[in-house]
Amino acid sequence: MRNQRNRLLAAPLLALVVLVALAGPASASGDSVGACMAEHLEAHGELDSHLLHDEAVQDELEKCFEAPSPILPELNEIIWGGGAFLILFVLMVKKGFPAVQGAMDARAERIRSDLDEADRAKLDAQSVKSDYEARLADAKAEASRLIDEARGDAEKVRADLVARAEADAAGIRERAAAESDAAKAQAIADLRAEVASIALGAAERVVQSSLDAEVQGNLIDAYIDEVAGADG
């Protein structure tokens, strides 16, 4: 910062020194052509026609026709201009440059701050993005897991239903077979009971018809003998 300021001050000072150094020739030829010629003629005394034909005088007068420097101004202009320049330069160095420098520093600082802010925002955005990406990945993983789980559950339910249906079908078949067997057995038993009932009814009627008083008496006697024969 300081080097930059020194270089800034050195440039106009160098220009001012060069102007002052070159001011001499300009001031030597700074008068008008007529004054220059009058001055040379007065230096040679009284003016006459011979004097004007003298080659040495003509050479001197020729010098008065030499044009002033197209670059170098008059000395007083240099003085005034240099003073004004110095005043302006000092004002610029003391007031303008710090203001411009402050504005530039503030702007640079603001730009730096904006850049830092932008970097932070970028970092934040990247963090949010990575967070969202992580969440999205988690959500995808969770969704995949749920789908797999649901698929597994559905398969399990299907297997259970199939097993239950098969078990029910087997049970129905078994019950049907058992009922069929039971009905068959019951029918046989009913038939047997019916046949037995008919046979026993017939036997009972035969017995009743054959049980006259004599037979009854014989049965009672046989019973008494049986009881008497039984031992305790």
Partner: protein, 176 residues
């Protein structure tokens, strides 16, 4: 409670009949009345119905036994029916008969047969029971057509079944 009442009434009947001196006749008459009571639904319903006035029930007893039983028997039946114990009358009579037999050191053998047993058969059956069981018994015959033929003897909880009905039932069981 019911058993105590039955025993109490049986003891009362025994005491009265003993005092009156015609115990054997009263036993026979009460036994016959109990059999009629068992086999006749209408009689059982009428005498055991509390809604029928006691006087009406006693009148029925009087009509049934008048001239067919002794005054002692009629009075004892009237006492049981009048006391509202008609439903327990068969049990009371059975207990009374057992009590009477016990007073003679005998047991009661209830014999069910399709026809009545002769006196000879009764004596031989009593002797046969004594031989087989060692108990002196008095034979009480109940005519029961359902027996068909033969005899069923009940002595207390022991049953000696020699009936045709039992053999038919055995035959029926063998068919199953």
């Amino acid at each position: 409670m019911a058993d105590a009442a039955v025993a109490g009434y049986a003891e009362a009947l025994f005491s009265v009949a003993s005092v009156e001196g015609d115990l054997s006749a009263v036993e026979d008459e009460l036994f016959d009345f109990a059999q009629a009571f068992r086999s006749n639904d209408e009689l059982r319903t009428t005498l055991a119905d509390d809604n029928v006035p006691a006087a009406r029930r006693l009148q029925v007893v009087d009509d049934l036994l008048d001239g067919r039983a002794s005054a002692t028997t009629s009075s004892l039946v009237a006492m049981v029916v009048g006391a509202g114990r008609a439903a327990e009358l068969p049990a009371i009579v059975d207990a009374f008969i057992e009590r009477s037999a016990a007073s003679r050191n005998k047991a009661v053998a209830t014999v069910r047969s399709a026809i009545a047993l002769t006196a000879d058969q009764r004596e031989r059956l009593a002797a046969a029971i004594r031989t087989s069981t060692g108990k002196d018994v008095e034979i009480r015959v109940v005519e029961d057509p359902s027996v068909l033929g033969g005899v069923v003897t009940e002595i207390g909880d022991d049953i000696i079944d020699g009936s045709v009905r039992r053999r038919l039932n055995q035959l029926r069981e063998s068919f199953r």
